[in-house]
Symmetry: C2
Subunit: 646 residues, 2 copies
């Protein structure tokens, strides 16, 4: 599947990320723990800049209600939300040595290795190989050997190869039983030992703990920030002066006890999310600002296309996609547009972004529709933002469980007037006749659907008597109702208020995944020098905005250097002095290329006195001025002589 992966020199990138401390395995000196990473100064600044831009783009510009809720969550809440029962992955074990695999990853790796072997065999036989079936290069083959077993040049039947490709295209659509069948049918084993593996069993992905000194209150670390937002719905609606629609938002840490963390930052056990819960009238999922995004062209991969085993997206405007029903409604479409704009603003490559619709079985238990923003990286297409329609699922289950109302009451512009058949009891006869059954029978009659009530009325009119059967009450069994006990008739009702449970559209951002994808898209190696890796970040995103270098290593430069750095920093511009006497100017430029620092100031004595440069850099970073403006205003000085010193 090599055309599905971005071709970059990942070993060089990974060594850069470690060397410049973007991130590193947590607890490294203790041997590390899979799926846990620490961000260093560069990674932390990059992450903070992405979060700031996210806040500006979504929370501030769209006037969302940002909240910050507890991570530790009592079990009862997550039982209600369905996570205790359903937030699980399928796991299988090597039957002999007990090694644990995530079932879908195992199947995927083994089948991919077989297709690679097939391609190798066909290539050796001189066959033409389709792009999608080209064998991986040596390095990749070596990697797959570890994951999916040895890549052996073995030709498969054309039909088998075709089927494997089709299975892989929809691997996310298999549940435990389906995966178990694939394992049996294709004799999938532990690639390292060759031992058989058990049938897949469910493994819940939440970290468990207990709250308080008695140890009796079970808690979980939240697997998403969403639940805290749902639980506060009524407070937020009140804060918003009862106005709909509105959105809440949260940025924070969530936890998933992954079976087999892998792919660096892409599948981890602890991660920062930014989630929006947009509450909307289910009868009217329009969005007031839809027109602002309707002409944006996006690449969509709808479920229908995937089920045909295809992976080629369609390019279409958001307005068209909603009009054609590809995207279900305008609110969902609006957020697809806003997500697109955000990813473009931080520097994601337009051509390496697509929106893929979830297949039915792949959807989270709470979702009724979901579009993922997927970004192409060297690991393949990575889900970086999910945009799910959670319908009224969460508010409904929490309201049912707690008996707290979680709904909107809206004064109707015109009162709603309608007739309805109702049952009134004749107290003198009803109570004395039915005795202790009177109350349950009355409740039964008053809550009966109108059509049922009409049937009883017909019987009473025809026979003077109707029989009803209660269950689940203190007076279960059959009861006779006679004509003198009740009066069933049409009454006119007037309603001034409409009550409804909002639906929720949830754009959910994996900050670590976006950050990693952005790094890959910003990475290149200078053509003139294989060793010189460069990260090209936009100024707003870059961890450090400005490098400050002395014109020479003379000691007298030290003070002006520190002064400029201090003035920049007190203006909110993170600046880094590089005056290491041991490194040439060229070497220092090179290492700041690796940090992705967009601007550099080489300081002579005049610079040190000059306030202009501080303002200039500040404006360049904030976007209040551009580099072209600067070039128009000032004379360009050739500093290449310095850079060539190396």
């Amino acid at each position: 599947m090599s055309d599905n992966k971005l071709a970059i020199d990942r070993p060089t990138l990974e060594s850069l990320l470690l060397k410049r401390f973007f991130y590193a395995p947590s607890f490294g000196i203790y041997g590390g723990v899979a799926g846990l990473y620490d961000f260093g100064p560069t990674g932390t600044a990059l992450q903070q800049n992405l979060i700031s831009m996210w806040r500006q783009h979504f929370v501030i510009e769209e006037d969302m209600l940002e909240v910050d809720c507890s991570i530790m969550t009592p079990a009862e809440v997550l039982k209600t939300s369905g996570h205790v029962e359903k937030f699980a992955d399928w796991m299988c074990k090597d039957t002999k040595n007990g090694e644990i695999f995530r079932a879908d990853h195992l199947v995927e790796a083994v089948l991919e290795a077989r297709l690679e072997g097939d391609a190798l065999a066909r290539k050796a036989a001189g066959e033409q190989v389709a792009e999608a079936a080209k064998p991986a290069d040596d390095k990749k083959a070596k990697k797959n050997k570890k994951k999916g077993g040895p890549v052996v040049a073995t030709k498969l039947d054309d039909a088998v190869a075709e089927e494997l490709r089709s299975i892989l295209a929809q691997i996310d659509n298999y549940d435990g039983q389906g995966l178990g069948e694939l394992i049996k049918r294709f004799d999938i084993r532990n690639p390292t030992t060759g031992n058989e593996v058990t049938a897949p069993v469910e493994f819940n992905l939440m970290f468990e703990s207990s709250i308080g000194p008695t140890g009796q209150l079970k808690g979980y670390l939240r697997p998403e920030t969403a639940q805290g937002q749902f639980l506060n719905f009524s407070r937020l609606l009140e804060f918003n002066n009862q106005k709909m629609p509105f959105a809440s938002a949260m940025v924070g840490r969530s936890f998933r006890n992954e079976i087999s963390p892998r792919s660096g930052l892409l599948r981890v056990r602890e991660f920062t999310m930014a989630e929006i819960e947009h509450f909307v009238d289910p009868q009217d999922k329009i969005h007031p600002r839809f027109d602002e995004v309707k002409d944006i062209k996006v690449r969509l991969l709808p479920g229908t296309v995937q089920l045909e085993g295809k992976t080629e997206p369609i390019t279409i405007t958001i307005g068209e996609a909603v009009a054609q029903g590809i995207i279900d409604n305008k609110t969902l479409g609006y957020f697809v547009g806003r997500i697109y704009l955000f990813l473009m603003a931080i520097g994601i490559n337009h051509d390496l972004l697509r929106f893929r619709q979830h297949l039915q079985n792949e959807m989270a238990h709470y979702a009724c529709d979901c579009w993922d923003a997927e970004i192409k990286t060297s690991y393949g297409w990575i889900e970086c933002v999910g945009c799910a329609d959670r319908s009224a699922y969460d508010l409904t289950v929490h309201a049912n469980k707690t008996k707290e109302k979680m709904c909107v009451r809206e004064t109707l512009p015109e009162p709603l007037v309608y007739d309805k058949l109702v049952c009134e009891t004749n107290k003198k006869v009803f109570g004395p006749t039915l005795k202790k059954a009177a109350k349950p029978v009355q409740t039964y009659l008053e809550t009966l659907p109108e059509a049922e009530l009409a049937k009883i009325n017909e019987q009473l009119l025809a026979d003077g008597l109707a029989k009803i059967t209660l269950s689940g009450t203190i007076a279960d069994g059959e009861h006779a109702i006679t004509k003198d006990m009740v009066e069933i008739s049409k009454k006119t009702f007037t309603e001034h208020v409409r009550e409804y449970t909002p639906n929720v559209i949830e754009p959910s951002f994996g900050i670590g995944r976006i950050l990693y994808s952005l790094i890959e898209h910003s990475f290149s190696v200078r053509a003139d020098d294989e060793q010189r890796a460069v990260l090209s970040f936009k100024p707003a995103v870059a961890p450090f905005k400005c490098l400050i270098l002395p014109l020479s290593n003379h000691a007298s430069f030290e003070k002006p250097l520190r002064d400029i750095a201090r003035r920049l920093r007190s203006n909110g511009v993170p600046a880094r002095v590089d005056d290491a006497a041991s490194a040439s100017i060229g070497r220092r430029y090179a290492r700041n290329d690796e940090l992705g620092t967009p601007f550099a100031i080489t300081v002579d004595f005049q610079t040190a006195q000059d306030q202009t440069i501080i303002v200039l850099v500040k404006d360049l970073v904030s976007g209040d001025t551009t580099w072209d403006d600067v070039l128009g205003k000032y004379e360009l000085v050739d500093t290449a002589a310095g850079a060539d010193e190396e």
Copy 2:
């Protein structure tokens, strides 16, 4: 102890905080969980603004290396750091109903209630009561009744009352045994049931979990962000081009499974911290920027003063305090100054801030000195920032455990030349004579202290033979060394590099506590109207910067209102439209007083066209212009007519 508490109308404040959703108990609709709080839109914005200012004041201005590390921490790390054994509070149980108390809180509450009773009795007898011993008002007495038992007017002996006050002044200095003795001596019982309580036992405050699908890797949620910073020390030193001193920093969530969470945000189970670890040469704890803070006057309460049972701080400049040895060194002094400046910048009241030195027993297990910035609130003096000298404790224990070097290697300006007695073996005789004991004996001789080696040399010179005894090796027991086997002589050494483990000065900020204290200091009730509560935040701190109101409720104002709001927001200024037709202008001002919104724009048709106002508000919020500048430039319009509408 009423003079130790800030006098505010807390019930009114608490109702405001809930109504305007600064924060609320988490999982409220499920009954809540003690010690867990959710921040609403106002609280979240306030918290974010405090964090942004903290980042600017410390990380950016001081060029600190910010990191972001994992919360989930394997047990081994926290065993090494001492937290598994020592991070605990003392807990006792009601012997009959099993109710659990934090021992020091129980003793404190009961003794305080007795002193209140004493004061009441003295007042009733017409005695003069010292300020510190004045009885609480009715509301407080009622509260204490719940915490420390009924306040009964019972006069205590003068000596007993004096002793209780002295115990309370240093309550933090008692360990479990000490608390147990107090409980016995003063017959302290469960205030509600009157039952006896058990002797205090330790309860570890960390939340436990397990990592990965096998359940075999035990983990804890970090109780502080510090450990992640220590574990990355070597990477950070390298990132800083091996230059010392430097500081790392982290903002993030930490967890403590408190025995009895209380006092709202002040003692919670999950909280946001901002911690700095400043790594410094233990032989030279100066700070390059010390002079910038040396003239700042602070109020200090040193340990010596507290041990005399006194609570009156001394006012002194930081320079003087360091010179007199009250504050141990310049780096500690520098951070006391920077903490002071930060707290002033966000709006803490100067007169309600003091720095208190920890008493010996109260210090965390890793600290050798500690100064807390304490802020006076209605709950008393609250520790909001700890500034501890952790010496080389953490780096040393982790290095010993992991065998990874965690130290600084510094090229000496002048090489260090010295003579030292060393032992060299004569290979031809040494090995063949000692056989398998040769290696351990050689190691023994090479690592022997110089004085011991000199003794052996004397024996060899005198007798031609010396005996040594090994233990813990593969050749334990006595071995004879003869003159021909070794040569012991003085050699000259030259060292170019000095190697040392840095000490750590740790300023550690409890963001929630600072936030709550700031709210109390910003709170007032308008003199003309008891019901009209006001929060007066500085513009940089305020959750919403600008309120936008229409001149009238005419529908034609809606669009210009939204336009202005949108333009402000796209300039990064959080603005809030309040056009609720049901509320008068006065009512709307009042409710935005409760949100602490510093600026308001009342929109007429001309405003709607005008770009000036956007720039003006943006500059006011960023501090680039002041309200006085604005008054000098523009004519003041009387809008009081509108405000009086109510």
